[in-house]
Structure formats: C-alpha cells, structure tokens
C-alpha cells in the first residue's frame, strides 16, 4: 500500500476521514454528556453523585412517571403493531374491498403531524365538548360522556394511531415482496391457507416484525408531544414530560432530568441494537424471487365487509377525522359544547394568528431557515459519509457506519439534554444561538439521511464511476456529473423528509431554544398553554402547511425509499 499523500488525489480521502471523525464525535458526545450530567451534582465537572439516579425511582412523581411511561409504551406499541400488521396484511394479501387505497391511506398519518392528531382528538373526544360525546348526548337525550381523551387509554389511542404507519411501512414491504412460488410450494406440500400463514408467511416476516416493534418502543417511550400536552393536562406524568418540567419548573432539577433522560437513552440504544441485529439477520430471509408471480390473495369470505369497515374506520381515525376536526375548530369563534353552528363561524382567528400574533413570523422564519439548512446539511454530510463508508471502506469507515445509527436510539429530549449539557460549558459557544438548534437537527437526522443516500449510492455501480474516470473526469467531476444526477431523486426525497420532520420537531429543541431563537413548532406549546383551541387549530394548520408545501411542489421529482 502506498502511504497517504503519495497518491495524487488523496486529499479527498484525508478530508473525508476528518469529516468522518468529526461526525463520530458529533453523535457520540451527547451520549457521554447525558451520562456525566446524570452523575454530577451540578454541571458536568462538578462533584460526583448517584443521588439523581436514585431519585429516578425514589422521587414519587418520577416513580409514577416511570410506571406511566411503561404502561403507555406497552399500550401504544401493542396497538400500533396490531393495527399496522393487520392493515398491511389486509390491504396487501387479502381480497379486502379497496385494499390498495387503504394501504395508501394507512400511510397518510406520516404527512399529518402528531399535534394535528392531538388537537383533532381533543376536539373529537373531550369529555365535555368533544364531537363524539356531543353526538352521544344528543342521541341519548341527556349529557353522556362516551369517550374521554384525558385518560391513559386516550393517550395510548392517539400514540397508537401516530405510530401505526411506521409499522405498516416496515412490514408492508415484506408482504409485498413475497414470491408466490414459496407459498405455492407450501400449498403443494399440503398446507392449508391458515397453516401456510402460520408456518411460512409470518415466520418470513419475523425480522421485520421485530424491527418494527423495537422502533415503536423507542418512539413511544421517547414521545413528547402527547405526554406534554394532553398528558400533563390529565396529570398523567411521563418521563419525557417530566424531564421538561424538571429542567424548567422551579426549582429546576437538571440532574434529575438527565438521570431520567439516561434511562430513556439506555432503553433506546438497547432497542436500536436489537433492531439492527434483527434487520441484518433479516437479510437471510430475503427472497430472491425477481420474476416471481404476485402471490395469491387470501379470500376473507363473510368477514370481508366487517373487516373492511373496521379497517377503514381505523385508518380514517388516524388522519382524515382529526384533520377535519382541527379544520372545523379553526373556523370557530369559541370552542364549547354544541359550537358547530353557523353563528359561531369566523375567520378572525386566521387573521389573528397570521397577522397579529407577534411570535408567529419570527419563529416561522427560524423554522424555515433551520429546515432548509438542516435538511441540506444532513444530505451533504450523508453524501460525504456514505461515500467514505461504501466506496473507501476500511476500519474507520466501519466505525462510522455503526456510529451513525446511534441517534436513532436517542430520544429527542435525551439528545437535547446531551447537547445542552455540553455546550453550556463552552463560554462564547453556540449555546443560545440558532446554530445549536441546527446542530441538534443534523445530529438527530443524519441516520435517516445516510439510509437514503446510502441506498442510492449502492444503486450506482462503481463501474459507472470508473468509466467516467477513464474518460478523463476527476473524482469531483465524476461525483458532479455521474453520481449526483443518478442519486438526485433519492437525495431530494431525503431532503424533503428531513425538512418536514425538522419543521414539526418539538422534543429535540424544547430544551435548547430561548425566546430569541424560538421556532414555530415549539411555539405550539405556548399556544397550548393559553388554552384557546381555535388559535391552536389555526397555528397547527399553519405549521402543517409550511411543512408540506415543498413536498407538494417537489414530491413528484423525488424518490421516497431507502430500501
């Protein structure tokens, strides 16, 4: 081997190696920082203590939150798994009426931000003024409270709806790619349809099912928006909402918050470790069918229409119904029982939020700026890192590949603690500026960007690059003329995805912003605190629209798949 520097053009290797090392540091220090903060009396560097860690269990409210988080995570995971797997199977592998459309609609909640879901279900299922309860009261003739969103069941219901599409996405690909011949072989061997489902179809999906389960466990345990809004209103404390309170309420207890964050972090990292293992073992289960026929559809018989009704109702509950409820709410003068009348119609709330509410445009500017910079930063960094991992290889490259998965297992609020506890120590650093938010966004979303860019780079055969080099183009010229055009749609897809997520992100930045750097999504918490629902509705619609505009405009040029 030639030493570095001997080879002409080795500057790019050196530059990429430096980028790789910085990136590993970027994802690693928040983890270290959370640990150190949780065992320090004050800021990192102060006296060692285990009090905070002990307090996670000994403090009564923290113990409550721990238990609640467990119930909430278990409930939401089960609901989203049953719904996601069920909908995927019904829409892809059975003769359910409208299966294709059902499959598309099941993914719609990904476009509808979770706070729309929250506000929509408050509008639907508030014990006093919820549409469902009003309708029930009208039918019963007396005041009837059929459903109540301000309960653990209500929280689990909303979170289950919110997580269902992620399960659907992970599992659907497997159901879709099954080669018919595998199943025909089972049938020819004498297996009944049900037996085949039990012995062939579901076992083949085992790695995907496990990966989906671990993903929703991480997402549910680290979820912030639902516990911090309806959860706090119902006085159901959970770790993420308590972390926020512990670092903001008086007296602030950032040490306890860090210890609680550490617990979430450990759970998250364990989940992501087992998820990666499941997925890499899943490669064994990949069927190389290629020319295989589409597998046959299971006939549902007399269950066909009842199952269709249930599936459609559930799918509508996850997107169309809450979105409609929020939209209705946005046009009301006030929100109260029986408020859905013509005399209660107004556009004043739109005028107020869009033109008079002082915070909205400064924070929207921050959000758009950070969305564009964050998404661009992620994609550019991901191009450099995936090139380093896939094309240059080597020991450091493998380390980068492992390290860049870390943020997937760090709940947003814990990542926020890690970043904050580090930068608070650097005088004149980025703490309190927009840059710390940008850094947080890039750290959190680099794994997704790497998945997209990596799969796109894998699709570009190295011979296509070799042919360009032989034809006289340098490494950079080849990247510009061959790789970037070929990877374009996937790059745009990941850019859009990250932009959308940055715009709606709350838990990651809730500990990092200050009044001068507030972003639109975090501002939602203030509007929630004011408790005027029509304003909340308009604000959340504005936030959703700003996120979706580039997707609508550019979506047709993009490729949204990291497979």
């Amino acid at each position: 081997m030639l030493g570095a520097g001997l080879r002409s053009g080795s500057w790019n290797r050196a530059a990429l190696s430096a980028t790789a090392i910085l990136s590993i540091l970027m994802v690693a220090y928040p983890v270290v920082s959370v640990v150190l903060r949780a065992i320090s009396k004050g800021d990192i560097g102060t006296e060692f203590t285990l009090d905070w860690i002990a307090a996670v269990y000994e403090n009564p409210r923290s113990r409550d939150a721990l238990l609640n988080t467990l119930i909430y995570t278990a409930g939401a995971s089960v609901l989203s798994m049953v719904a996601g797997v069920g909908l995927a199977f019904l829409s892809i592998r059975t003769d359910l009426p409208g299966g294709r459309l059902l499959g598309l609609m099941a993914l719609a909640p990904m476009l509808v931000p979770p706070f729309i879901l929250v506000i929509g279900w408050v509008a639907m299922a508030d014990p006093n003024a919820g549409f469902i309860n009003i309708a029930a009261s009208l039918l019963a003739g007396s005041k009837t409270s059929l459903v109540n969103v301000n309960t653990m069941a209500g929280l689990i219901w909303m979170t289950g709806l919110f997580l269902m599409p992620y399960v659907f996405l992970l599992v659907a690909a497997g159901f879709r790619n099954t080669d018919a011949s595998v199943e025909e072989a089972a049938r020819v061997c004498g297996a009944s349809r049900l037996r085949m489902l039990r012995t062939i179809i579901l076992p083949l999906q085992r790695p995907a099912l496990l990966a989906a389960l671990l993903l929703v466990v991480i997402m549910a345990a680290g979820d912030f928006i639902i516990p911090a809004t309806v959860g706090l209103k119902a006085r159901i404390y959970m770790l993420p909402s308590l972390i926020w309170q512990n670092s903001h309420s008086f007296p602030p207890r950032p040490g306890l918050a860090s210890a609680q964050g550490l617990l979430l972090l450990i759970v998250g990292l364990l989940c992501i470790y087992f998820q990666r293992r499941a997925l890499s073992r899943g490669a064994r289960f990949t069927l190389l069918g290629g020319k295989g026929l589409r597998p046959g559809l299971f006939p549902l018989g007399r269950w066909r229409y009842p199952l269709a009704a249930i599936s459609w109702l559930f799918v509508l509950c996850s997107s169309v119904i809450p979105l409609t409820a929020v939209t209705c709410m946005a046009f009301m003068k006030y929100w109260a029982p029986n408020a859905l009348t013509a005399s209660n119609f107004t556009l004043a709330t739109f005028k107020y939020i869009l033109f008079d509410y002082p915070q909205v445009w400064p924070s929207a500017r921050h959000s758009l700026l950070l969305g564009v910079l964050g998404a661009t930063g992620c994609v550019v960094l991901a191009i450099a890192l995936t090139w380093y991992v896939i094309r240059m290889r080597g020991r450091l490259a493998r380390l980068v590949d492992y390290a860049m998965v870390l943020p997937l297992g760090i709940p947003g609020i814990a990542l926020g603690i890690g970043i904050m506890s580090t930068w608070i120590l650097v005088p004149g650093g980025i703490y309190g500026t927009l840059w710390i938010l940008l850094l947080a966004y890039i750290t959190a979303h680099i794994p997704v960007a790497m998945q997209f860019v990596g799969s796109a780079l894998h699709r570009v055969s190295t011979e296509l690059e070799d042919a360009s080099r032989i034809s006289g183009q340098s490494w950079l010229g080849t990247l510009r003329r061959i790789n970037l055009p070929l990877m374009g749609p996937a790059l745009l897809g990941s850019w859009l995805l990250i932009y959308v997520v940055i715009l709606r992100e709350i838990s990651l930045v809730i500990l990092l912003y200050n009044p001068r750097t507030i972003v639109l999504s975090v501002g939602l918490m203030d509007v929630w605190a004011n408790g005027f629902y029509p304003e909340l509705a308009v604000y959340s619609l504005l936030l959703m629209v700003l996120g979706l505009v580039p997707v609508v405009v550019l979506g047709k040029f993009a490729r949204f798949s990291a497979a």
């Binding site: 055969s461 032989i470 034809s471 006289g472 183009q473 340098s474 055009p485």
Partner: protein
C-alpha cells in the same frame, strides 16, 4: 461502418509495459491476484489476457487503468510513467488517456447516446462544434448513426456495447482496455460483435488489451495471447502457437483440448519426437529440450485431428467403443473408449455412431501433436 474515417478516428496508440506488478487482496493479503507480473504490450497490437476467473487478468487491466493500486511494480504508458511503487508515484485514471470497454457496458442511465460519446471530449478543451463533429463521426463509425438522442434503456444489448466502444475510442486514447466486453451478450450476438471488433481492428489498428475467459474470442482477436494462471504468465504467443503447441496441461485444457494422452518417448529427433500412446506411435513437438528415450510424457491431442470409422481395424488404427455421440449441427462429437481412456473426437462426417458400436480410431494424415512440459 465507414472506413474513410477509420484512420483519423483511431490511430496507432502507444505501447505499454508493466513490470513486477504484485497485488494481494483480503484482510491479511491472503488472496494473491498478481505475482511479480511483467509484460510489454506493443503499440498497435491486440494483446489478449486469457484465463479462468481469479487468474489475475482483470487485476492487470484495472491496474493499467488506474482503478486498482498494485502493491508493487511499475506501469508505463507510452513515455509516461503511470505508476511506480518505488517512487511513490501514481497517476489517477483520468490522467492516463485510456479508453475502456466494460463487461457491464457501464453506461449512464441519465445520458443519451451522444452525451456518452461526447463525455471523454469534455475535458479536451475542444470547441463545441468540433466535439459535435467528432461525436457524429464516431456514431457513424460504430454503426449508431442517427441514434444520438436515444437513451440507454431504448437500445439493444449490442447497441449498448457499441456506445461503450464509441465512448472508449472517441478520445483517441493511447490504448483501449476491454474487460470481457462480450460476455454479457447472447451467443448469436457475441459471434457477430466478435467479427465486428475484428473488422474494426483491421481497418485501423490500435493498441488494445483484451481480457477474456473465452478461448474463441482470444484466438480471433489476439495478435498475441497471454494465458494467465494464479497471477503469473503460463504461456504466451500467437493464437496459433497457443492452440497448436500448448506448453502445459493447464493451457491445453483451457484452450479446449480435452484429450491428454499418457505416453512414453520412443524416439527423439531434431524436428520432432515420437511417443508411444494408446493410439500407437504419435508424432509430437514440445518445448523442452531435455527429454530422453523411454521417459513418461503427455501428448495433447486435438479432437479434430482424430478420425473415427466403423468396420475392421486396419494398419495405424486402434480399436475403440463408442460411449455416446453428440450431434452439434456442423459437426459431431464422438466420445470413444480406447483401452480404458476416453477420447473426444470431433468429426465432420455425416455418419452417426450409436453407443457401444466398435469403431476404429486413427490420427489424421501427417498430424503432429503437442508434447506437454508437465
């Protein structure tokens, strides 16, 4: 293909030489792809590197292209040192002025045919009109006239290969490297492209290095064939030499000579050696000069130099039994058992020999066989 532009499109090229190239792969370098490999490639000639997969032929080609960095050795292209391990010098691929035709064609899905052909000219500093002219001329030359606006997925496999060829040639490279260019084509098309490549080379000779595992391509296209084995040169020479006088079992088997007969040296003269075999005394020529009468040796007998006939065994003939006959259209292959040894005989005769028929086997009139070194 028009021959008027032939010489101006692709002329001559430069000579190349590699010396002392070594390359190992794997974590601990356990896979030895090239082992102190040295060879010169004369200007204007086609050198074919022939060998099974893993013999190192592709590594030689990719080292010359600059796509692989050898562990040691030196590569010169024309008068330019492209790689010198001792001096720590390595030119990147884009500065070696070569053309390459890939097995997978390596065409870019986002560019049309004309953009592919123009690509190597982008860095040449030529004016746009000049580039357009050269692209049009090259399209005509490779038989793709008027197809410049097509995209790759709109072309057949053969047309894609022509685009790849045109791209490799348009920049007037010092040499063109072919990496198994025909192995992705179906049999019929492969035959046709092989003939077209031969025609191209006849019209305008250019330096080329052609890597293949197909002995037919090697024989047709090579001015010189280099048989490689485990990172070293097993034998090199003209196609006729390689086929008629293989040095080793490896070469004989690789160029398609299945009949390796054990024998004993009976008589040695300056011109040839007579060897006693199951087929009686055979005339043979070998490379080794140190043979002695009575020693054991191996003779490679080409299937077409044996005849098979029904009926009684006459003088100079040996008795055998047909094991099976495979009809191949223009010829038939008869597998015959002669005294326990199985012989493959290829015959143009129309006569069909049924299994277990007794037959007489005889060498062709005046045939001289190859006496192997090992």
């Amino acid at each position: 293909m028009t021959s008027t532009t032939a010489t101006e499109l692709a002329a001559g090229g430069a000579g190349l030489s590699v010396s002392g190239l070594s390359k190992t792969y794997g974590q601990r370098g356990e896979i030895r792809a090239l082992d102190d490999f040295s060879l010169t490639f004369p200007a204007g000639q086609c050198t074919v590197l022939l060998g099974p997969s893993g013999c190192g032929k592709t590594t030689v080609l990719r080292s010359i292209a600059g796509l692989v960095t050898p562990d040691s050795g030196r590569i010169t292209i024309g008068d330019q040192v492209a790689f010198d391990h001792a001096a720590g010098h390595e030119e990147p691929p884009e500065e070696r002025h070569l053309g390459m035709v890939f097995q997978s064609y390596a065409l870019w899905p986002h560019m049309n045919v004309a953009e592919h052909i123009a690509y190597p000219l982008l860095t040449s500093g030529l004016a746009k009109t000049e580039i357009a002219q050269r692209v049009t001329a090259m399209l005509d030359w490779v038989g793709l006239g008027g197809m410049g606006n097509r995209f790759i997925h709109e072309l057949s496999g053969g047309q894609q290969q022509r685009v790849s060829l045109g791209r490799a040639m348009v920049g007037k490279p010092r040499a063109i490297l072919f990496d198994e260019p025909l192995s992705n084509l179906d049999a019929r098309l492969r035959e046709r492209m092989r003939m077209e490549l031969l025609a191209l080379r006849q019209q305008a000779p250019f330096t080329s290095i052609y890597v293949t595992h197909d002995q037919l391509e090697a024989m047709t296209l090579g001015d010189r064939v280099v048989v490689m084995r485990a990172g070293r040169i097993e034998q090199m020479g003209s196609p006729e030499e390689i086929y008629r006088r293989p040095r080793t079992r490896f070469t004989a088997e690789f160029v398609g000579i299945p009949n390796l007969l054990d024998g004993r040296v009976r008589d040695i003269s300056a011109a040839e050696t007579v060897v006693d075999t199951a087929l009686g005394p055979l005339r043979a020529v070998g490379w080794r000069r140190d043979r002695q009468t009575g020693t054991r040796c191996t003779v490679a007998v080409r299937p077409t130099l044996l005849g098979v006939s029904r009926g009684t065994v006459g003088a100079g003939q040996t008795e055998g039994h047909v094991i099976r006959t495979a009809f191949q259209g223009s010829s038939s292959v008869v597998l015959v058992d002669v005294a326990g040894a199985q012989l493959v005989i290829e015959t143009l005769a129309e006569e069909r020999h049924e299994a277990s028929t007794p037959v007489a086997v005889q060498p062709a009139q005046g045939a001289v066989f190859a006496l192997l070194d090992d």
